[in-house]
Structures are given as C-alpha cells and as structure tokens.
C-alpha cells in the first residue's frame, strides 16, 4: 500500500543527479587541484546518497553496505590525492593543474 506521506524516491534521484552534475561541472571548471578533489568528493557523495536511498526504499541493506565501502575508498583516495598534491606542490610551488603540461603529444 503506497504511503502518500513519504518522500517520493524521484526526489532523491533528481537531487543526487543535480549534486553529481555540480560535481562534474566543478571538475571541469576549476583549475585548482584541491577544488577538483572536492568536486570529485561531491560526485562520490551523490552516488552514496543515491545508493542509500535505493537501499532504504527497497528495504535491502546491501546498498548501505556499499556506501560504507565507498566511504572507505574515498578516505583512502583523499589521503593519496592530498599526498600527491603536496608532492606536486613541493616541485612546482603551485596546485594549478594547467602547469601539468610537460607530457604531451
């Protein structure tokens, strides 16, 4: 029996898509590596929320478990990403991704 009171799943999907698109635009629009990382985190988070929503509306815990693993991976990725960022900063003294153009053609 559909409960009219609950929030429709569509809302979550649209919200998550919007968040995902904002993340994508952030990656494309920014040159600051740090902000690009943050945008990627946004993308991951939108996927997380989507999974959690699906999981809750299906009454299936697997989705929430996956969210848990995505958080694990995101933490690891951020640790590595920031370490790389520091490394780049040490050699170029900037975090502008446009300076990464030695390798081309």
């Amino acid at each position: 029996m559909p409960n009219l009171q609950i929030i429709p799943l569509d809302y979550y999907i649209i919200f998550c898509s919007a968040l995902f698109a904002i993340g994508v635009v952030g990656v494309l629009v920014k040159r600051n590596a740090l902000v690009i990382f943050m945008s990627i985190e946004l993308m991951l988070n939108s996927a997380n929320l989507l999974l959690a929503a699906f999981s809750a509306y299906r009454n299936d815990p697997a989705g929430q478990i996956f969210v848990f693993f995505i958080m694990v991976v995101a933490a690891a990725e951020v640790a590595i990403g920031l370490a790389l960022l520091v490394m780049i900063y040490r050699s170029t003294h900037t975090i502008d991704i446009n300076v990464l153009n030695k390798l081309k053609w």
């Binding site: 494309l28 040159r31 991704i97 990464l100 153009n101 390798l103 053609w105």
Partner: protein
C-alpha cells in the same frame, strides 16, 4: 615414406639456429659449408620423394600436430606432399643448394659471412614451409617468413642508406599485397569454414562459376601474388631489391620467392577457374607487366637491373599462362626460369666479382677472352631465356604462347612481343659485356680474374639444367611425350572442364605458332648483333649534339633509320615507363600512402594536448554522447 616430410624443413631451421647463435664463433667458411649441407640433405630427401611421386605414389597430407581448433574451424599444422609441392621442393632445395655453394665463394671476403648464411637458411626454411603447407595459413606463414628474410637480405649491407630504403620499399609493397592475402583468408574462412586446401577445393566444386564471393576471394589472393611476384602496380620493389648480394638476387628474387605468387595461384587453380573475371584480370596484368618491364629492360645499363626487369617480365608471362588457364605452362616456365635466371644472375655475379663490383655494362666489354667460363655460361643462359631450341626456355615459352593463343590472338601477339624484347635485351647485354674492347683500362693491382671453382661449378650445373631442363616438356609435335603435362595432370585436370577453349589448334598451325616466334627471335638477335657488335653503338655519356651534328656523326643512314623508327620510340617508351610510370606514379603512390599515414600520425597526436582539463572535458563529452546515442534512439 612421406611421413618423414617434416625432416625437409627441419634441416634448414637447424642450420639457421646453429649459425645464428654461434655467429661469432664460426670461423672461415664453416658456416657456408654447414648451411649448404643443411640444404643438400633436404634436396636428397626431396629427390626420393620426387621419384616416389613419379612412380605413382599417392599425394599425402602429413599432420604433425593439431594447431588451431575452434568448434567449427580446425587448422592442423600439416604438410601436403603432392606432385606440385614435390616439384617445387626440388626447385627450392636444388637451386637453393647450388646457390648456397656459389655463395661460399662469392661472400668469402664479406664481414657478414655467417650472418648471411644464417639468413639464407632461414629463407630456405620458410620457403619450404610455404611450399609444403597443406592449408592457406601455413602457406601464409611461409609467405610472410620469406618476405622477412628477403627484407633482411636486401638490407644486408645496411651501411648504405639507399639499400636500406630498397629494403623498406620491398617491405611496404609486400605488405600491401599481404593485406589482400590476409583478407582473402578471412573470407575463405567465412565462405568455407576451413583453410585446408583439400577441403576448400572439394567444397568449391559445388559453387557455380562467377559467384561474387569467389571472385572477391580470388582477386584478393591475386593481390597477394601481385605483391610477392612483383606485378603491376607493385613491381617496383624488385629492381630496387637488387641492392642485396647477387646470390640473394638469384635465389630469392629470381628462382624461388618471387615465384611464390605463381605457385599459390597454381595451387588454388580450382578456385581461380571459378572466377573468369579474375582470370582475365590476371592475364591483363600479366601481359602488361611483361611488356612494361621488358621495355624498361631494353635500355637499362645496370647489369643486375636488366636481369631484375627481365625477371618481372618473365613472371608476367607466367601470369599470362595462369590467366589463360595453362597452369602447367606456368609451372613449367617457373621451373626452367628458376634454372636459367639463377644461372644468369650467378654469371652476372661472377662478372661483377671479376670486375670488383662494377655493375654498369657501359664500363664493361671484351670480357669474352678474359673470363671464358663465365662467358660460355652466360651464353647458355641467354639462349635459354630467349627461347632458342633446344634450350629449356624454348619449350616452356612455347607452352605459354600456345596457352595464350587459346585465349585469343591479341594475347598471343603481345606475348610474342614480350618474348622478342627478352631476346633483344639479353643479347644486348651479352654483346655489350663480352664483345668489343674493354671499356676500362685493366688495373694492374686488380686484374680481371675468373671466379673460383666453388662459383663456377654450381653455375655449370645450372647451365646443364638450362640445356636439358626443357626436355621434361617436349610437346608431342616434336616427338616428345610432354612429361610435365602428364606429371601435373592430377592437379590441373579437374579445372580443365571449367575453361572454355577456342578452336583446337591444328598440327600445322601449331608448327606455325612455334616457328614464327622463333624466326622473329633470331631476327631480333641479329638486330642486337648489328647494333652492339658490328657497330658497337653504345650510348656512352657523351656531349650533347645538335640534330645535324648527330646526323654527321652517325654516318650510316641505316643506323639513323633504325634510330628514328625503332630505337628512339622504343627507348622513349622505355624511359617513359621507367621515369614516369614507375618512379613518378607508382613509387610516388606508395610513398604518398606512407607519408599520409605519418602525416595523420603527426597531427593526431596533438589531440593529446597535455592539459588534464581538456582530457576531462573530452571524457564528459564522450560520456554524454554515448548516453544520448544509446538511450534516445
């Protein structure tokens, strides 16, 4: 006894491996002797096989191991020994052995002696694989392998950039042909579900004549043959390939590898007769090549280049035979051509050797008395190639001409013209090189000397073969029994039914067909004699003269007549073919294709801008495209 067929390719392979891995250690002529033995043993085995086949032994497929098998498709690694491969086996090992022996003397002073012999043995191995393979895949592997060896050997003296370019050109041109071959293989799999000769040919008999797919397959196979056997438009690599050592030219670029195309077409005769369009294409391309290469050869001045163009021309004639359905004629000419062209190349090598590397015939002359053995051998070779009875070339050329006659008078006339050109340029070469005065003063430090025994003996054997080789195919008209026709009949008889012949040639007209070309050839030889012996009319690099001055300089009116009516136009045509068609059109086309690829490569890499932002942007665009195109159809 055919179970032991795998021994035949095994020996050259062992030879290659042993020499290749010890090529620092082997001293003196050891490598050469070893390599020769490794070709001699297969030759002996092949002889046994051949006599077995002559005595009526059945053709046999010897499966060594299962190689590739899909649910439907299975390709065993197996050898096929039948009369066709038996004949080829004999040519490859026999001529190969003689040339190996010759090379011991020829290459003795070369620093790359051991390397040379390892490549030569590898070549023989691949050639045997090509000949023995019982399916198109093994044939293709041999095909690629001989190409690779030819490439290695053309570029053998790799210090010279020009030689290197020649090697590259040979490689590229062969690749273009191979593309056709490979596509044909896939189409064969698609059509027949197998690559085995026996299965394909048994299945093909059920297919009506002129089907599109068979026509495509045969045209693509022929494209492979065009590349390998140097036909129009892919023939220009062969003259350039003369950059390699002379024995290589003799073995690979005259006797064996370049004839692989002819062999392949003859092997697939049951497919080709199903495609009349292809057969006609083969005839047209063959005769065009024969005429074009022949006319280019008329006025070349490099001894090896002349022989190279001659090879192209003779291969053209073989294709004429194939195209007109005279498969036996093609194989016969292939055999005799292997003998006399190898002989001519080796003799040319001997001349070059005697003159310490000189290849320009204008700087030769009067060698008749100084290197008499080579001289006589050269005469035998020239008579054989020109088709003077009773030398080998007469009979095989006769068979081709009769085959061409069946396809129409025009083809016959053009083939005769090609044969006449052959006689002219061969005797021009002979007369210029051996008659007259020595063009270069004898250098006391490097006297002109006859070649050593290790070189003359193989040549003599080849000369004997060039004399008697034709007797395996003496036509009934001359009281022979045409043994080669009988020998190869099991392979070609079933395709006879598909060929529509013109009117049966009566005995009297056959005599005419035999004698008219012969008389013409004799006339052409006389012409060459009057040009180059009597009047010694050799265009040295001399100052430009006005037309009037020229008229005064050449006192004989007859000469002028010849000059304007015969020589000028022919020479003009010859230059035109060489300078315009070959160099400008074909070479340029090949080079441009290569350049185009490089140009695209050069520019396409700028897509890789080096900017991550751009990469990410491209990715997003592609993702959107993929999503939209897939979801909103």
């Amino acid at each position: 006894m055919f179970e032991y067929i795998w021994l035949v390719p095994l020996f050259p392979l062992i030879g290659f491996l042993v020499i290749f891995f010890n090529f620092r250690r082997l001293k003196g002529v050891t490598a050469g002797v070893l390599a020769s033995i490794m070709v001699f043993i297969p030759f002996v085995i092949s002889l046994f096989f051949f006599f077995g086949l002559m005595n009526g032994a059945e053709a046999k497929t010897v499966e060594l191991f299962s190689w590739i098998s899909f649910n439907k498709l299975s390709i065993p690694f197996s050898f096929l020994i039948d009369r066709l491969s038996g004949l080829m086996l004999l040519i490859v090992t026999g001529v190969g052995f003689l040339i190996h022996v010759y090379s011991i003397g020829y290459m003795k002073e070369d620093a790359g002696f051991n390397r040379f012999f390892s490549y030569m043995n590898l070549f023989v191995f691949f050639m045997l694989l090509l000949v023995l393979g019982s399916n198109y895949l093994i044939l293709f592997i041999g095909w690629e392998g001989v190409g690779l060896c030819s490439y290695l050997l053309i570029g053998f003296w790799f210090k010279n950039q020009e030689f290197n370019n020649a090697a590259k050109k040979a490689f590229i041109m062969n690749r273009i042909g191979d593309l056709g071959f490979l596509l044909a293989l896939f189409m064969l799999i698609h059509q027949f579900g197998t690559l085995n000769f026996a299965e394909i040919f048994s299945k093909s008999s059920a297919i009506p004549v002129g089907t599109f797919s068979i026509t495509m397959i045969t045209l693509l196979l022929f494209a492979g043959a065009v590349g390998k056997s140097a036909q129009i438009p892919l023939f220009t690599w062969l003259p350039d390939a003369m950059a390699g050592p002379t024995p290589v030219s003799a073995l690979i670029h005259a006797a064996t590898m370049v004839t692989a195309g002819v062999y392949m077409v003859a092997r697939s005769n049951l497919l080709f007769v199903l495609a009349p369009v292809t057969l006609m294409t083969i005839s047209v391309i063959g005769i065009a090549t024969a005429l074009m290469a022949g006319s280019i050869a008329l006025f070349q001045n490099d001894i090896k280049k002349i022989l190279a163009y001659s090879t192209v021309s003779q291969l053209g004639l073989m294709f004429v035979a194939l195209g007109s359905g005279a498969f036996t004629g093609a194989m016969f000419h292939l055999t005799t051509h292997a003998f006399f062209k190898a002989l001519l190349f080796l003799a040319a090598g001997s001349v070059i050797h005697a003159l310490h590397g000189e290849q320009d015939i204008r700087k030769m002359g009067g060698l008749k008395d100084r290197i008499p053995v080579t001289f006589w051998l050269f005469i035998i070779g020239s008579l054989a190639i020109s088709g003077i009875p009773p030398f080998a070339g007469f009979f095989s050329k006769d068979m081709i001409l009769i085959g061409a006659f069946h396809s129409g008078y025009v083809l016959w006339v053009l083939s005769v013209a090609a044969a006449l050109m052959t006689a002219f340029y061969m005797f021009r070469l002979l007369f210029i090189v051996f008659w007259g005065k020595a063009a270069v003063a004898a250098d006391p430090k490097h006297p002109v000397h006859e070649s050593p025994k290790s070189m003359t003996i193989p040549m003599s054997v080849l000369a004997v073969l060039s004399i008697i080789g034709g007797f395996i195919g003496v036509p009934a008209l001359l009281g022979g029994s045409d043994r080669i026709q009988v020998f190869l009949a099991p392979l070609f008889s079933s395709s006879e039914a598909f060929l529509k012949h013109g009117a049966e040639v009566s005995e009297s007209s056959e005599i005419l067909l035999m004698t008219i070309p012969l008389l013409l050839i004799l006339g052409v030889i006389f012409l060459a004699w009057s040009f180059y012996v009597k009047n010694r009319n050799i265009e040295q690099e001399e100052p430009e003269r006005s037309f009037l001055g020229n008229l005064l300089y050449r006192k004989f009116y007859v000469d002028e007549l010849y000059d304007t009516i015969v020589q000028k136009p022919v020479a003009g045509l010859s230059t035109f073919f060489h300078d315009t068609i070959e160099v400008k059109v074909i070479d340029r086309f090949v080079n441009q294709t290569g350049n185009l690829v490089v140009w695209i490569g050069k520019n396409i890499r700028y897509m890789q801008t080096g900017n991550v932002g751009a990469y990410l942007f491209f990715m997003v665009i592609s993702i959107i495209l993929i999503l939209v195109l897939n979801l909103f159809k």
